[in-house]
Amino acid sequence: MSKPTRIQISRRAVLRGAGKVAVCLPLLESMACDSPGTTPRSGPGGGATPRSGSTPKRLLVFFIPNGTITPAWFPTGTETDFQLAPLMAPLAPYRDQMLIYSGVDNQVYLKGIVDNHNEGMTTLLTGQPAGDLQLDPAARTIYQSNGISLDQYVADAIGGDSVMRSLPIGYEWYHWLYDKNRNQIQHNGSPSQLFMQLFGDPNIDPDALNRITLRRKSILDDVQSDFTKLLPKVSSNDRVKLQEHLDAIRTLELGLGNTTSCKPEMPMYPAGYPQPQEDPNALPLWCEHMTSLMALALACDATRVGTFFIRHGGGGQSFFPWLGMDIIPEEPNLPTTEHHAMSHSWPTQPYPYDNLIKIHTWFSEQLALLCGKLQAQDELGGSVLDNSLILVCSENAEGSHTKTNMPFLTIGSAGGYFRTGRHVQFGGVPHNRLLLSIANAFGLDGPGGPDHFGDPEFGGGPLPGLT
């Protein structure tokens, strides 16, 4: 299969580190909020409990590329008495908090531009076709969404007072998160930059930070007035674009000075995380750092919505040398260890199976790592994990781009909203309904109403039987 978007591959260069060898670093567990040296977690309002009066719910989305290996993913047994398949073995400790879904399809993707890979990403969290339907067809591309993504939608509702309204983490960029204006949201890839954004620059004292915040607000006030004076003068479609920018500035300004009372010590992160071809241990190390940082951010209530993205699906150079697989690039008709290529070759050719299992097991392990760190953070209602909802998903069902019986999984009950510990089976329902169910867990209807999330053609309300 050809690379879906050679254009995007070069974006790796944006996140490529300095190429230095990674230093062995202390894990972030010692930086938890209630460990010595940090102040106890408190809500953004400064009180012991967050503004809603109860422990906040969190939403996370965890992405696995290139679908799954179906026989190794779906459980056997009954709804409540089921046996986890091999790829879920690392997640066994969280079995009671899981809902494993069968028979959930991505159906909306057929309504828009289809190129057999990218539409899976664009449609996944939006439930909308790919290709901006408001534009002339000649101007539509597969990276354009027709609606907001689930994470941004929930973040708009619950993320307002957080230091970061949402926390998209990604080792590389991809097009799957869209704000309410259908603009793509970028990933944060640098743990050190992210740490400072969440917890402030450790080199600046609080008084200085306060002065800087006041000054920024003053400047942004001036800038907003520049926008406001301009808006009535421009054409209506210019106004839409400028208004979106103004809204972003407004939201930014409102968030300025939001802090968390956590004051963790900043770890010594490496200068960069090279590609596996240069340093096989870079990506696992990045995952270690970023899962810790995500857990810390959630525990400290610095954010309530996050996404975790390690590798994109589709053509590329996705290798896993740290799993014992030498890098064998993709060539026509020859065995390779490139993930995407292997995901296509199997099951027609048997050779990739073991490697695919290794790769997908590793992704499950990273997910388990994250779950463990969330579970280790105690708070009212149990642990952060208990109060969270992690949506695990992929852009395809299998490597062949099929989109029926997608590998959807949720971990966490969202504070008791979902009745977990079950394998729920459906007969081919649109995934929009799962997105809606999750929105409901956060007290929200769909963006267009209670019946659907995304494209109204795929409504019917939330999935039955989850609560």
């Binding site: 050809s2 690379k3 879906p4 978007t5 050679r6 254009i7 070069s10 974006r11 057929l110 309504k111 828009g112 289809v114 190129d115 057999n116 290709g131 339907l133 067809p137 000649a138 101007a139 539509r140 591309t141 597969i142 354009q144 309204r165 960029w173 204006n181 603009n183 793509q184 970028q186 920024r216 400047i219 942004l220 800038v223 007035s225 520049d226 926008f227 009535p232 003068k233 421009v234 054409s235 209506s236 479609n237 210019d238 674009k241 400028l242 920018h245 972003a248 500035i249 930014l252 150079q317 690039p329 060539e331 026509p332 008709n333 020859l334 296509h344 070759s345 027609t348 781009h401 099929t402």
Partner: protein
């Protein structure tokens, strides 16, 4: 994947099931992909639009209708006839945010900052390969934060002790002067600085507002006051966007004409990807740019400026996707070849456009290139062809064998980008040429198609391994439209080295494309390139691509008249690229825009 074309894009398959066989139509071919065990599980019609004749594609509704568009609803020929293009037709546009390249250049010219001012800004979204699409460029909350941090950083840099007085044009000791002197300095500085920053004169109210910004910051210190102003200016819409209000056109209330300042800005960003210089600003101030002779003279001056060469370099970087050379990884070839290949193509393009023939034909057919000695082996060029004192890493113009080389398409850069670590990617090569040089995109394979190659057979050539594309009717309908183009380049291996055999067997580089007029069957990359070099299809496509880049939008149905005009001029100019740039400054789309919407 899709590229600017003049017709509908391949619609989602769901919308295609109702389509019917086409009338025999030069403009639109409909290919029926049958169900078959191997390649497809869908019965679908796939629209393949041929660039070429004027008109057609006027339906524009293929993306969301259940009936296929195309033949039934195609408009009669548009350009050049009375009717649709009589009035002022500027097309649809939306206000353009500076992209990262433009931001970098603008900050450089405004503040003298020579670093990468855009380093902290998110990558620009690509639309059809270009990073300056007005519709796609937006600002999210995280980006607003990036702009804030960037503006602060630049303001701090610009007001550092050694720079402050120079920035303001005031006395060296201005930071420690008395308040009155400092105020006088600011009052003298603001109008000129504001004019350069916002690319137009500031009104009294605006100046007063900037003064107030200064005063707020100056509570802390003079420098803080200046930083406050600078940070605000760098975040303001008049800086970050190319705002166009226009002037009324009495004869036609649906359009406005750009005023001199707006024209100056359009000219400078089109040709320099940066702000107007003082000469342009002075011309705007004098109201001289309304006159087309003056404008044309300015265009000549700007084309002669080195910044125009940087702009065309950036254009070709994006069109040819040269950044992909960063992923160069070839079995048996050093990674150090990649920057040399890139430099070759960049130098070649620059030479053709600015020093050489200047035509598309030359780009596609030239029998020379600019090689370093390390790259010579790829082209089978012997060292005596180089000067005796040739230094490694330097580029030298050398003649190439015209039997084996013709312009861009057979260069190492493109052949390498469109290859795996050790074998060619003819399918990708075919697609690339169609999309970039013929503006005839390829529809995707139907979902779920089993694209697993058969088990490896080292006794086959690469072409033979793709045999199913030709023999299986479920595949051949689509693949016949581009495989042949890719196979034509089979003589050029994964780094562009010319070879006669593949896996020990002679290479078959012959092909024919059924849906496009390329002058019949061809054999080999050189013959194909030479056909393209003289083809109307390629000329039209090159004009369309440059229009997309120049105007920051994929040409839509509303741009039909403009596209036709620019294409016709480009053909009449025998494919001269500088002429194409000149054409872009003369269209109604450039001089006007839609009056828009009620306030």
């Amino acid at each position: 994947m899709p590229v600017p074309g003049r017709g509908p894009h391949p619609p989602g398959l769901r919308g295609l099931t109702g389509c019917s066989a086409a009338d025999n139509d030069d403009e639109v071919g409909i290919i029926r992909v049958e169900t078959g065990a191997g390649c497809a599980r869908w019965l679908a019609c796939v629209l393949v639009v041929a660039c070429g004749d004027a008109g057609g594609g006027g339906d524009g509704a293929a993306g969301d209708d259940t009936e296929s568009g195309g033949s039934d609803t195609a408009e009669p020929t548009g350009g050049g006839e009375t009717g649709p293009c009589d009035g002022i037709e500027p097309g649809d546009s939306v206000v353009r945010r500076l992209n990262r390249t433009e931001f970098r250049n603008t900050v450089r010219d405004l503040l003298g900052y020579t670093g990468d001012a855009a380093v902290g800004l998110a990558p620009d979204p690509l639309s059809f390969g270009f990073d300056n699409n007005a519709e796609a460029l937006a600002v999210t909350v995280p980006q607003a934060n990036e702009y804030l941090l960037t503006a602060e950083k630049l303001a701090i840099w610009a007001t550092e002790d050694t720079r402050l007085a120079g920035l303001l044009g005031c006395a060296e000791d201005i930071a420690t002067a008395d308040a009155a002197a400092q105020q006088a300095c600011i009052t003298a500085w603001l109008p000129g600085f504001g004019r350069r920053a916002y690319r137009r004169p500031l009104g009294a109210e605006e100046l007063a507002s900037l003064q107030a910004s200064y005063a707020r910051g100056a509570i802390d210190s003079f420098t803080d006051g200046v930083q406050h102003v600078l940070t605000r200016v760098l975040l303001s819409p008049a800086f970050l966007y190319r705002v166009e209000l226009g002037l009324p056109v009495p004869e036609d209330s649906s359009v406005v004409r750009l005023d001199d300042w707006e024209l100056a800005t359009r000219l400078s960003y089109l040709l320099w990807q940066g702000p107007p210089d003082d000469v342009l600003l002075a011309a705007a101030e004098a109201g001289a740019l309304a006159d087309e002779t003056t404008r044309a003279a300015e265009v000549e001056r700007m084309l002669a400026d080195p910044r125009a060469r940087v702009t065309t370099q950036d254009y070709f970087r994006q069109l040819l996707e040269l950044d992909q050379l960063a992923d160069f990884n070839k079995a048996g070839y050093a990674a150090s070849l990649a920057p040399l290949m890139r430099a070759e193509t960049e130098r070649f393009v620059d030479h053709v456009v600015w020093e050489g023939e200047g035509t598309l034909r030359e780009l596609l057919s030239a029998d020379y290139s600019f090689l370093s000695t390390d790259l010579a082996f790829v082209y089978n060029v012997l060292l005596p062809e180089f000067p005796a004192d040739a230094k490694p890493g330097e580029l030298y113009k050398v003649p190439l064998d015209p039997e084996h080389r013709a312009g861009l398409l057979t260069q190492a850069s493109l052949m390498s980008i469109l290859a795996t670590p050790s074998s060619t990617r003819p399918i990708a090569r075919g697609k690339f040429v169609r999309e970039k040089f013929l503006c005839a995109p390829v529809p995707p394979p139907p979902p779920g198609v089993n694209a697993t190659p058969p088990p490896p057979d080292p006794s086959q050539t690469t072409r033979e391994q793709y045999e199913q594309h030709a023999s299986d009717p479920a595949c051949s309908g689509c693949h016949a439209t581009f495989d042949g183009i890719g196979f034509a380049f089979e003589h050029y291996n994964a780094v562009g080295l010319y070879r006669l055999q593949d896996n020990g067997k002679p290479i078959d580089a012959s092909g024919q494309i059924p849906d496009l007029d390329l002058g019949g069957p061809f054999d080999g990359g050189v013959e194909l390139a030479l056909r393209l070099a003289d083809s109307e299809l390629a000329l039209r496509c090159a004009a369309t691509q440059m229009l997309h880049f120049g105007y920051g939008r994929a040409p839509t149905a509303a741009d039909q008249c403009t596209t036709d005009e620019v294409q016709a001029e480009f053909i009449a100019a025998d494919g001269d690229i500088k002429s194409l740039l000149r054409s872009l400054t003369r269209t109604e789309a450039f001089l006007y825009r839609r009056a828009g919407g009620d306030p």
